[in-house]
Symmetry: C2
Subunit: 146 residues, 2 copies
């Protein structure tokens, strides 16, 4: 852990460590754990997350979907591609606004999500054994604040 102890006895963390790098590493480790659990379903955790949002919220314009996932708009647009190609998501024109395109779950998408849920839950449980989900949420909240 490279913990140093300063003059006054307060332990300080090695300033060498890039906190961002450490956080990215944690995210990679968690991603690997989930992706392995989801492997039988052919979904990745990123894709699962998108399906989950669409399931909870119903059809959404791409930009709003991106906002819900805290993803860059164009990133979300591209992340929809593989899902659309596999027929899990459908993107259609918005009748009310010609600029907007609505993303929505197909029946196959709903089925894929349902099938993936148990696998996801297993990963979720295994992660919870290692870290407190609440503290992860708090972390993300502190970072996302405006």
């Amino acid at each position: 852990m490279h913990i140093h102890v300063s003059m006054n006895g307060t332990p300080t963390y090695e300033s060498d460590f890039c906190t961002c790098g450490v956080l990215r590493r944690a995210a990679r480790a968690a991603t690997a754990l989930y992706d392995q659990a989801l492997r039988p379903t052919g979904l990745r955790v990123t894709q699962f997350a998108i399906l989950k949002i669409l399931d909870r919220c119903g059809p959404l314009p791409v930009t709003r979907l991106a906002a819900k996932a805290a993803l860059e708009r164009t990133t979300m647009a591209r992340n929809l591609d593989p899902l659309e190609r596999r027929g899990l998501v459908r993107v259609t024109a918005d009748a009310a606004d010609a600029r907007s395109r609505l993303a929505e779950l197909t029946e196959e998408g709903r089925a894929a999500l349902a099938g993936a849920l148990p696998h996801w839950q297993r990963a979720q449980d295994r992660l919870a054994q290692r870290v407190d989900p609440g503290s992860v949420q708090a972390l993300a909240a502190a970072l996302s604040a405006e």
Copy 2:
């Protein structure tokens, strides 16, 4: 925060939330913060991290470098490409083992790292105002354990 309160009064976090997704989101937010701070240097936080390791450890075979960064071997190999193209890192044959290729910092790389340090430190400080670096380290440690 979507906090629910169960029968017995214990607050439980919305099980709907994918802890992995939340963690990935936090990593994206931190990355954006660092990348913006590093922008004047033309480095990204991922690249900075690699330079930092090479600076601390000296020349390393790609596989060992990847292990230090907790990155997949082939990912590290590819992440070296832009650094090599810009002349910040040099990859040479290992005289002692024809299979191995050593990655090392060039003079330009050392200079780039030195120039980036203040910007990185600013991001590091700004992040520390929002979250406890120690808790992030603990999180990563819990996730990386075996």
